[in-house]
């Protein structure tokens, strides 16, 4: 009940000044992405792999008639992948402008409002994740540190665009 009260408080606070983030886990670590970058969340579905692509590019999924490229966020962020894909995993469908990308995450935990005061943007020590994708680290009273990711930056990368194009070409072909 305490937890739910706290969540309510968070929700209430987020209603005023906080920005909403979706919290998920990668290799037991908490990560979060801005809720406005996310289109929807689905469970792991059938992924059709593509030949001659980077290892993090897992393939294509069919989401209600739309072909969406899907990457393994763990590999993309350079985390050592301990486990293969499983049923409990989810795919976060991110939307940035015209680009739609599926990101495979271990588990989606919650949607949380984080105030600016809670975010530490000046990070001297880089984590395993490439610094350019990281917005900062959110601190909580009871919850562990959460790394805030900028999925838009991940999606802007040329590689992904190329792949997207290739995929589109293949689809067109």
């Amino acid at each position: 009940m305490n937890q739910s009260d706290e969540q309510k408080k968070n929700v209430n606070s987020s209603c005023s000044r906080a920005k909403k983030f979706m919290v998920f886990t990668l290799e037991e670590e908490r990560y979060a992405a801005p809720l406005n970058q996310i289109k929807e969340v689905i469970g792991l579905t059938k992924i059709t792999p593509l030949p001659n692509v980077a290892p993090y590019f897992k393939g294509l999924i069919n989401l209600r008639g739309k072909i969406i490229s899907t990457i393994d966020l763990r590999i993309k962020l350079g985390l050592k992948s301990k486990q293969n894909l499983n049923k409990k995993m989810s795919i976060i469908i991110a939307e940035f402008g015209e680009t739609i990308l599926g990101c495979i995450v271990d588990d989606v935990i919650e949607v949380i409002g984080i105030e600016e005061s809670q975010i530490e943007r000046q990070l001297e020590i880089s984590s395993k994740v490439t610094r350019e994708f990281v917005i900062g680290v959110a601190m909580f009273d009871v919850k562990p540190l959460t790394v805030l990711l900028d999925i838009g930056k991940i999606m802007n990368m040329d590689e992904i665009n190329n792949i997207q194009k290739t995929a589109n070409q293949q689809k067109a072909a």
């Binding site: 969540q7 929700v11 979706m22 809720l35 289109k39 989606v108 919650e110």
Partner: protein
Amino acid sequence: MMKNDKESMFGLKGKLLFMVGSAMLALIGLSIYSGYTIYKMSDIVSYLGKQRIPITKELGDVRSSSNGMPRFMWLSLAQAPGSVERKKSLEKVNSFYKDLVDSTAELEKYELVDKAKEHLDAIKAILPDLGLVIKDGVKLLELGNVDQQVKELLMIKMPPLAVKLTEETILMEGVVEQKNKSVISDSEAFVLSSTRSLIAISSIISLVFGLFGFFFATKLAKSLTSVAKMIADSSRQVASASQQVSAASHQLSSASAEQASAVEETSASLEEISGMVENNVRSAENGVEIAESVRAVSEKSGESIKTLIAAMAEVLESNKRIENLVKVINEIGEKTEVIDEIVFQTKLLSFNASVEAERAGEHGRGFAVVAQEVGNLAQMSGKAALEISAIVKSSIKEAQEIASENKKKVEKGNEYVFETADALNEIKKDVDSVLTGSRQILSASKEQSTGIKQINTAIENISKATQETAATSEESASAGEELSGQAFSLDKLVSELNLIVTGKANNGSYTDSSDDESVYEEKKKIVNISHFKDKKNQSEIQQTQKFKKIVGGDESSNTGNDGWDKL
């Protein structure tokens, strides 16, 4: 020698019997022959006395009668008629005639030669005529007055008859005499031949038996000498043996004393054994009782084991139920997974709702809250589902563990139960065998008890026997001494026997006489002299009797004694 005698068909006794028997047979034959000869002689004599002499006498009568009749007839004629003298003469004539008739009749009765018979018949034929003549003559002469007739009768009729009668008589006499002579000469010849043959036969018999007797006596003397030598040897051996017997008897005496003590010990041990056997019997009875109770217990345990087996089976049955329960729990787990899935989807839905609410901006604020709440609920459900899942998993695990443990335990229990059942069966078997064994022990112990009683009596007998043995051994010790004495007396007897047989006073057994003396003296010291003296005469007699038995076969038989006497 002995060996040869044994091998020959007849022994010494047989030979002696044969010799004496044959001699007796020969004597009997000889006496029979003599008797026969004498009988024959008496026959001849009686023939002479009963036949020949009477015949001669009768013939003499006939002759005197035949001579007398005419003579007195003539004499009466010369005498005065009617005188007493004439009467007497005539009476004489009549008596002569009567004599004549009687004699002839008498002669008929005797055995006569054919010729004599012819003459007698001739005489008989004359007699009737002569009778008539004599009758007439006597009648006429009695009347005394018819001289002419008388003269005619006496002169003419009577003379030829009388002459004929006389002739015939003389002829018959001649025949009879001839016969007599021949009979006498025959008898003389018979007597002579009989005498000769008797002399010859008796001399032959004497010669044969003399030779046989000489041969046999030589042989007998030889064999007796050798026998005496052997007896002497034997007596020496007997002497040494008797010493051994004496020593052995002493040993036997001491041994029997030891035996007596051993028997006492045995008796004591036997009593102990008897006590042990009684204990055995008691123990065996106890064993039987215990074994029976154990058997009863084992039978009861068998039943318990059966119920236990049934209980085990029930446990197994309930294990199956647990397995069923596990299945049910598994189903619950599956259902929980479905819940989990729903929760997951709900969560995703709530997030999407949140996303949509964010997109809606200010208008979606309320919806965002709802989405949050839904998300929270989903989270809670998820947690609950996880918990349920964990519980289900642990339950399944536990149930499976319990089931498997139960199964293992039941299997092990079954094993134990079967092992126990087997063990019980074995116990039962063993108990049965123990029971039979105990019973056998019981019966065996009872038999042992009777056996011990028998042994007891046997030991008593042994004890008696031991005492007897002790007495006997003493007796045999004295007997051995006595035997030793007897050996010396035997030795002496042997020398006497040698004296009897060969006539020389040398000892048959010991070649050296001085040695013999020394040995004799030595042995005399050893034996009990008084005893020896007491028994000496008796032993000598016995020895002699034994010897007689050896020689004659039977001391009471006359032939044996005769043979002995002759020797």
